[in-house]
Amino acid sequence: MVVFPPTTPAELIALILRVITSHTFITIIIFPGFIHLTLVVIFLTWYERKLLARIQLRIGPLYAGGPGGILQPLADGVKLIFKEVMIPYKASKPLFLGIPLMMVFLSALPFAVIPFGQHWVIANIDVGLVFVFAMTSLFPSMILIFAWASNSKYPFLGGLRSLFQQVAYEIPMWISTLSVVLLAGSLNLVDIVKAQEKMWFIVPAFLSFIVFFIAIMAELERLPFDLPEAEPELVAGWYTEASGAIFMLIFMGLYMKLYLMSSLVTVLFLGGWWGPAFLPQPVWFIIKTLIVATFIIIPRGVYPRIRVDMLIKTGWTRLLIIALANIFLTILLINSGLLAAWGI
């Protein structure tokens, strides 16, 4: 019997048990929520190093922890937490310290609407897709403010480049998802995944998958689009002055954003949680998402960086026009009745 407010210790224990076993608490703290996200970020840092090391015939982390240096990310975390936080003089202190927290916040908040399974979602809202884009489109301005706050030349140039790049690729990313919305008839991410039960949207909307994938590579500042942190030119780009805990928070934010964008690809194009029934839904979702993340990471070990004018030209001319043309293609596909067998 749960009573609120509790008066006796037994009622208090009953209330706490009721809260801990509630679906909301489990989704927020354990599965799609905090513990799962932290573990995935720790895994991704290790995974990216190992994968790039394999591609470039290096060895990668080997000695920290058990097989394959699995504890290396923990060692890095401990190192960064105990390091001194260096703030460059004349830097804007509140912004320099606050923006990294804001980055983690902005990249973790959209996970509330990502459905990891039919019931494994924190908040099933009707504007899920718009919510995700609203949060991620705040990222470039955060980067620019951080770059400005550190009051140093390399970060400032990196921050400006990041702003230009992310502004150029936001529109193709945003318009290319329109064909998915047309096919599913909803902005609710749970409904979008439910509409893919018979056919993943990568088949009818293949062009928009290509545009979306290239656009998120640029949004995530992954090679070949990592101009904002181009090491030979700008040292480390917009986070040159970041050290210790600030550096760790920025990287947590970036890896969470990588996972967020990969899971968005899974939700929009790869059928979300759907898969053969011998594995539970969230497992399928995580497998697909990690495969997408792998394909985002691999070009870093393979391709060189492209020039800034090429980058902007590709974004505004090629991708935007393909994304707009794709709308007509999708309308034709829907009205031709070719997709009727799959209930679209």
């Binding site: 679906h23 909301t24 989704t27 703290i29 929520g33 905090f34 937490i81 105990f82 390091k83 936080v85 260096m86 703030i87 460059p88 004349k90 830097a91 310290l97 990294p100 927290l101 916040f105 973790a108 908040l109 996970f111 509330a112 609407v113 019931h119 924190i122 908040a123 099933n124 809202i125 718009v130 550190s150 009051n151 140093s152 390399y154 400032f156 400006l160 230009f164 150029a168 936001e170 529109i171 318009i175 329109l178 919305v181 047309l182 008839g185 902005l187 040292v235 002055e241 805990a245 928070l249 947590m252 004018d309 902007i312 505004w316 935007l320 707009l324 709308i327 007509f328 309308i331 829907i334």
Partner: protein, 120 residues
């Protein structure tokens, strides 16, 4: 799932702040926080930093930014149309399609201006 989903988002936001905040505030207690005029200089390839870091740069990005503003708003309207597309008759959608086609002309002109490298 009786809880309002927006309330769940607010709880999730509070949880993020409560659990990530200590990552920044706790190191302030145990790490050495002693300002050092030489070490705290902004990094400039080992040189003493010269001049103003927050300077003005001339880059003619405004044609792109104008396109960004236009297409952001257009995208919003297209999404509003996209949700109800399957429920609308096709001749209702024809006007939206006509609008996108008409938008192509100014887009082409803006791209022509923006890609002219003499303007950069």
């Amino acid at each position: 799932m009786a809880l309002n989903p927006w309330l769940a988002i607010i709880i999730w936001a509070i949880i993020i702040i409560v659990l990530t905040g200590p990552m920044l505030t706790l190191p302030m207690f145990w790490s050495r926080m002693k300002p050092d005029p030489f070490r705290d200089m902004p990094f400039e390839s080992g040189q003493v930093p010269q001049g103003e870091a927050r300077h003005r740069l001339v880059m003619q990005y405004y044609p792109y930014l104008l396109m960004f503003v236009v297409f952001d708003v257009v995208g919003m309207f297209l999404f509003a149309w996209g949700i109800s597309f399957t429920r609308l008759p096709l001749n209702a959608s024809a006007f939206v399609i006509l609008f996108i086609v008409l938008l192509g002309a100014p887009l082409g002109y803006a791209l022509k201006l923006a890609l002219n490298k003499e303007n950069w």
